[in-house]
């Protein structure tokens, strides 16, 4: 119960900070909407090409906007030595990872709640009665991305060139997650057989489990000097 209290305290503190300065959510939202808007003007409205590339554009927007949010979410913790303040607290340091992953999923979820409907309208994508499945795919993709991103943004937050280091370190590792998430989303948006979608979703779930557990176990070691 104490662990849950510590996780909640960190999440509440992060959300309160974000509510006051809005720097993470706003930067992610602006970036993702610009990506969707730019690609919308590139293709002919309602074209088959536009429909086929929509899932990839969506995940590119999530990937790069998420990178912005992850970087800020952890670098904020290193100002005024706040991370040391957290490390001094009498708790399992892996709880910081859990709280940060949940917080990052929340920020990215807000961004997706705006970006995805805008994209569906602009690109004329039909998801029919599979909205729930799309939400599940988005969640699974975001979970794996946030887990890997939280670990690597903690590593890069302590470096001088953190904005450059984070994507260089993180993007190669999250490729399997983004690939599986894009393929699952494409299967859904292009009306592929359910079996095809599930095959990619199983891969996505497997990578989520592997990466989340690995990052959780590694996090305490990353925090040490």
């Amino acid at each position: 119960m104490k662990s849950l209290g510590h996780i909640l305290a960190i999440i509440q503190k992060d959300l309160l900070t974000e509510l006051r300065n809005k720097e993470i959510i706003m930067s992610m939202l602006v970036f993702s909407l610009i990506v969707v808007a730019v690609f919308n003007f590139t293709f002919d409205p309602g074209s088959e090409q536009m429909q086929k590339t929509a899932p990839a554009i969506l995940w590119v927007a999530i990937l790069f906007a998420g990178n912005l949010g992850l970087s800020r979410s952890l670098s904020r913790e290193y100002e005024n030595g706040r991370m040391q303040g957290l490390l001094l607290c009498p708790m399992d340091r892996s709880l910081i990872f859990v709280a940060k992953v949940i917080g990052n999923i929340f920020y990215m979820g807000i961004m997706q709640m705006v970006t995805v409907p805008v994209m569906i309208v602009l690109f004329g994508v039909t998801i029919g009665s599979f909205a729930g499945l799309l939400v599940l795919i988005l969640f699974l993709g975001t979970l794996g991305f946030a887990a890997v991103g939280t670990l690597f943004s903690t590593i890069s937050a302590n470096t001088k060139s953190r904005e450059i280091m984070l994507p260089i370190l993180m993007f190669p590792v999250v490729v399997p997650i983004i690939l599986a998430a894009t393929k699952s989303t494409a299967g859904l948006m292009n009306g592929d057989p359910a079996g095809h979608i599930w095959a990619w979703m199983k891969i996505l779930i497997a990578f989520d489990i592997i990466f989340t557990v690995a990052c959780y176990l590694l996090y305490e070691h990353v925090l040490e000097e």
Binding site: H6, I10, L16, Q84, G85, L88, P90
Partner: protein, 229 residues
């Protein structure tokens, strides 16, 4: 209360601490003196479990640093150059956050009492980004003692403070000493150390060259020990 044996810390080839040993009894007020780079901050970081020793043994309040880090963290309060405070949270919200992390009972009352004692009760609803350096130091001390730790590790707490803020901080430290709190302060102010501490450590190039009762030390002796060759 603090038992340190043959403690060493290396950063690459450089020895930041070299074979340091000492014990500090409960209620002692120890001034840690040394020039910049002598190893004061490294020693405090090691005691606070913020870094791992390269060699040696640390025990605080009966807990071994290698095996019982969480218990040690519960027993120590730490104040460094950094305030650890969140600029977008108010003074009260900062104390509430850290209070939850330390499972402090009666948190609301405890935070209010501390804000009164550090003279920030009227600013409790203000974001800490509006605070001066002295106010941040006082709030940082309140954060460090929030969970009533028996051991306080303070790294240059007077750095950057004006006379009034320094006086207030000194009064706060006096009240902690009166409560039998064990204090280890890294300082540059020789006069303050000689007037207030019960014991003095002098670190030089990572080595503990003086460990003495403060009353047995003279200003010139300390100055000579601190002189850079």
């Amino acid at each position: 209360m603090i038992d340190v044996r043959t403690l060493s810390k290396k950063f690459g080839a450089k020895k930041a601490l070299d074979n340091v040993s000492f014990t500090i009894e409960q209620g002692q007020y120890v001034a840690l003196l040394g020039v910049n780079g002598a190893g004061k901050t490294t020693l405090i970081r090691l005691l606070a479990t913020l870094a791992r020793p390269s060699a040696g043994y640390i025990e605080i309040a009966g807990f071994e640093q290698k095996k019982e880090q969480q218990q040690i963290r519960r027993c120590v309060g730490v104040m460094t150059h950094d305030s650890f405070l969140y600029a977008d949270l108010t003074a009260e919200e900062n104390l509430h956050f850290y209070g939850r992390m330390y499972d402090v009972d009666n948190l609301q009352d405890r935070a209010t009492d501390l804000l009164k004692s550090v003279g920030l009760i009227t600013r409790r609803h203000d974001k800490t980004r509006t605070f001066s350096r002295g106010m941040l130091q006082r709030l940082s001390l309140a954060r460090a003692v929030l969970h009533q730790p028996p051991v306080l590790l303070l790294d240059e707490p007077f750095a950057g403070l004006d006379v009034n803020a320094a006086d207030m901080l000194k009064q706060l430290l006096d009240s902690l000493i009166a409560r039998e709190c064990t204090l280890l302060l890294s300082l540059h102010d020789i006069d303050y150390a000689l007037q207030n501490s019960t014991r003095t450590f002098i670190l030089k190039q990572g080595k503990l060259i003086i460990d003495s009762a403060t009353k047995e030390l003279h200003h010139d002796q300390v100055r000579k020990a601190l002189a850079v060759p």
